[in-house]
Subunit: 256 residues, 2 copies
Amino acid sequence: MSTVGKAVTLLEAFDVHRPQLGLTELARLTGFDKATTRRLLLSLASHGMIEQNETTRLYRLGPALVRFARIREAHFPFLESARSFVVALAEETGETAHLSEFDTDYLTSTYVEESPQANRVSVSVGDRFPLHATASGLAYLAAARPDYVETYLTRSLERHTPFTLTEPDILRQHLGEIRQRGYSISDQGRAQGVFSVGAAILDGEGLPIGALAVASPAVRASGDTAERHGRAVMLAAGKISARLNGRATNTKDRTR
Amino acid sequence: MSTVGKAVTLLEAFDVHRPQLGLTELARLTGFDKATTRRLLLSLASHGMIEQNETTRLYRLGPALVRFARIREAHFPFLESARSFVVALAEETGETAHLSEFDTDYLTSTYVEESPQANRVSVSVGDRFPLHATASGLAYLAAARPDYVETYLTRSLERHTPFTLTEPDILRQHLGEIRQRGYSISDQGRAQGVFSVGAAILDGEGLPIGALAVASPAVRASGDTAERHGRAVMLAAGKISARLNGRATNTKDRTR
DNA sequence: AAATTGAGGTTCAACTAATGAACCCACGCC
DNA sequence: GGCGTGGGTTCATTAGTTGAACCTCAATTT
């Protein structure tokens, strides 16, 4: 692995539930030597990518990351342009709606609007969705480049529940149906008792960059739920894509 | 420079006004060889820190940065906890109020609430403030560790206007006065015609992590402006620090 | 109070990964 | 059709990275 890759791997050791880590702990989590870990941390810290609490000696993600994130968001306002549509979708369906963004073989939850009902699906910002086991992921794959999909399908796909689809051939067929239908369906693919439908968010070239989904308790999913939610999520995703690209983008326009 | 440092330097080539860059352009901006630049970009891209537009071949900051920023903000909610106080401060003073965060020898503007008046000071999120030439920076320095201040003062300090203070001795004296007073004053230190007062935001150990400031056109700064704005900014900064640390933190409590 | 454990941090010879000059290719333009 | 420009690649040389062993300090344990 390149040195840069190692440095980023170090950053990836942090998450919402482990926002601060010690040197030894970081070395253990990443598998790097303590000396290596420290040298990388210092390099990162000198650029504000990592910060150290001077009394506890613990490391945490630095302010430069926030600065970079703002630059990206200013130019590529994924969240800003989507928030209101997610809220509207949750209201319309009465269920939890969530938006996720593609990032290295996963979709990462970016914004969540939970259902007001007591029995609801709960999702947290930062949660990562495997592509083959969630409605969001399937919607993403259905719109992704064929070569990416093939590469993804040939690796070993984790089975999260007895309902998870892991057979490449079945998945390929499933993706075909999603393309026809316009939205994806995942019946308890990642978590038991959760029924979801999803649709991809597309960039200016028609390639997917994220997904929008509605998740409901499976016990509330009756005959027409998939279609009702599916239409709603498809429409909302289309609107988000359109706004993101400053124009309509439901066609895969590749003329340029 | 370490490879990691170079990789981050590449990220730093992007800013709000230049959110997308080509390979050659990036190599030119950073001074690295084209091959080096590309290899670094690939390493970064494989972790989602950089993204490439497949048709224009231009590179932009990646989604992983946004993910990391969220992890940091979830744990260290600088902006969230401060926003309402900045709005209130702008309202109270009738002038532009802005919050900035320390990041590698500069304060970076994080949130801005502009004055409603036609003749107002305009600040953009992402603007970088030199420590010696702005009210925010001086407030930061006045609360910073002595060894950091000394290191900072011994480098050559840029003169932005005829009013910029660049003499280490004068600055040291100035910082003493700021500590006594509780807020800083910068009369046209960075831009002609801008009068600002500022106060530092402190972490749980009493060390500064950012600053809050009120900036007004110098022509509106009369006799009591400094004191009125100063008191307001000091109070607001104290409240932000307190909320950030979950308790009162205007004393430098180091008992642990 | 001496011994033990475990954390942060450092050193330096061995070694592996980074470097960059020169290269190719594609496209747009005169 | 030749020239300029930008993206991308190659590989011998070179410079940065590695990690076992070490140090220090503070908190437990004996």
